[in-house]
């Protein structure tokens, strides 16, 4: 046995835009154990349900995260709607699907840039974020916001997409697709990228399940599980099958996200073609009484909201289990046995969102 040293990783580190700390127990250059610490910026947002009524609270839910904000709002709204037995207009379900998938594309492109930056490929980082800006432009044109959309509400949607906007959006997405294919080609085929990712940080299928992994971290290990199969929003009427890879390494997790970029484009096109005309929201009366575990697929994986109401305007309990929180044990597992130089890249392969985790 070599000499053991504990190296603190984070909470401030060049690859970490948000604070997480990991104590790395290393022998020479090999990590033998990793002990994570979070909680540096825990906000206790869950307790704000005691002060904000259930209609207003969607604004709080959207602000849990600055990347998957729309899907947080959607998860909350779907949970309250289940409790109150509100039937959302079909057009609103399609709008939610389109905005949700635009969120996934911009989140995955953000991750692609961070990942490229993490393994030192600066030009790939810049190109990924340049394309992401084009997606944010589409989001801004259709919702008015670039990061916080504010377009989902209990009972439906706050905004509609006009036929002219839809035509423009689909045309813009053709440009985005061409650009994304160039970026993905580098991610998947460049030797220097594959050298850093292939065979690194392997999580077996059995480990991914027992460690409670979700999202691309789970699907990269061969488990084709995706909450969109619950057929929420418009997914029951769209052609969709989860993307998975079997190798369980860093390359597989990246490949799942790269493939999902184009899958999301396909879902948006299907939704645009099938979206019916009609109302985008129904009037909400009364207060929620009951409980529901609302589950939706975010870019990083399954998010779970537990929502419980007692018939008053304030909910009894709002609890958010975010995907990064669920992926921390898988990260601990993949770090054990890796080379010290691979730690930053491995941390990025779960696409950590500490803002979500510290809700």
């Amino acid at each position: 046995m070599g000499h053991r040293t504990i190296i603190p990783f984070g909470p401030q580190h060049p690859v970490l835009p948000e604070p997480i700390h990991i104590d790395l127990v290393v022998e020479d250059e090999k990590v033998v154990e990793a002990v994570p610490s979070i909680g540096f910026i825990h906000r206790g947002l869950e307790r704000l349900v005691e002060k904000k009524d259930f209609v207003e609270f969607v604004y709080i839910a959207e602000r849990i995260c600055g990347i998957c904000s729309f899907i947080h709002g959607q998860t909350y709204c779907q949970g309250v709607e289940e409790i109150m037995k509100i039937e959302v207009p079909t057009r609103a379900k399609y709008l939610r699907t389109i905005w949700g998938e635009l969120s996934r594309i911009h989140s995955h492109l953000l991750w692609a840039g961070l990942m490229a930056d993490g393994f030192g490929f600066e030009s790939l980082f810049m190109h990924s974020w340049r394309v992401r800006e084009q997606v944010l432009d589409i989001i801004e044109a259709t919702t008015g916001g670039r990061v916080i959309f504010g377009s989902c509400k209990v009972g439906g949607a706050r905004r509609d997409i006009s036929p002219e906007q839809m035509t423009w959006m689909l045309k813009q997405l053709e440009v985005v697709e061409k650009e994304m294919r160039l970026i993905v080609d580098v991610f998947m085929n460049d030797d220097s990228v594959k050298h850093r990712l292939c065979g690194v940080g392997v999580i077996s299928k059995a480990d991914a399940i027992s460690l409670g992994a979700v999202g691309p971290t789970l699907r990269g290990s061969g488990v084709a599980d995706d909450m969109r199969l619950l057929k929420y929003a418009a997914f029951g009427e769209l052609d969709f099958a989860p993307i998975s890879r079997t190798d369980g390494d860093s390359y597989s997790r990246c490949a799942v996200r790269c493939d999902e970029l184009f899958q999301s484009l396909d879902i948006i096109r299907q939704a645009a073609a099938k979206m019916p005309t009609g109302e985008i929201a129904v009037k909400v009366t009364g207060n929620p009484s009951g409980e529901f575990f609302s589950r939706v697929e975010q870019p990083r994986g399954e998010v779970v909201y537990y929502i419980k109401g007692n018939g008053t305007k304030n909910l009894t309990r709002f609890r958010a289990r975010t995907p990064t929180f669920a992926n921390v044990p898988a990260l601990v597992k993949m770090l054990a046995g890796c080379e010290l130089a691979d730690v930053p890249v491995l941390v990025l392969t779960i696409d950590p969102c500490i803002s979500c985790t510290e809700r």
Binding site: E50, L211, L229, R319, R321, P329, A330
Partner: protein, 130 residues
């Protein structure tokens, strides 16, 4: 209805055995959470197999409640168990990775079982009043 959700009442002392049965069937641990209900805490342990959602539930007293750790069955439970320990003061016995109250940095101890506004916090001044 998006999905059927099965909620099963279990005794805390049977929790580990029941969790092991689900683990052997291939269920993954979805989440653990506590909910304050007056002078009691509602404990929820959620599991999923191919989008079949099962939730174990039992009640504990608001303070001094104890639960056995399920980290021996699902190691990933350590994050949730540290969370309910830090935020709700639930004592988890046998957590494989116990942060001993230091998982979260909080301004007060067990903030999620405290009243919404602590008595020590003065009321905000009325407009125009010095």
């Amino acid at each position: 209805m998006i999905e059927e959700q099965t909620i099963i009442g279990v005794m805390p002392e049977m929790l580990v055995a029941e969790a092991r049965k689900l683990c052997e069937q291939g269920y993954r641990l979805v989440q653990i959470c506590a909910t304050r209900l007056g002078e009691e805490l509602q404990m929820d342990y959620s599991f999923d197999l191919n989008r079949k959602f099962v939730n174990f539930r039992f009640l504990l007293p608001k303070t001094g409640g104890r639960v056995p750790s399920i980290t021996g069955v699902y190691f990933c439970a350590f994050t949730y168990e540290n969370e309910i320990s830090d935020l709700f003061g639930v004592q988890v016995e046998g957590n494989a990775l116990d942060f001993k109250g230091n998982f979260y940095t909080t301004a007060m101890k067990h903030p999620f079982i405290q009243d919404a506004v602590p008595a020590s916090v003065p009321a905000p001044a009325k407009p125009g009043v010095q």
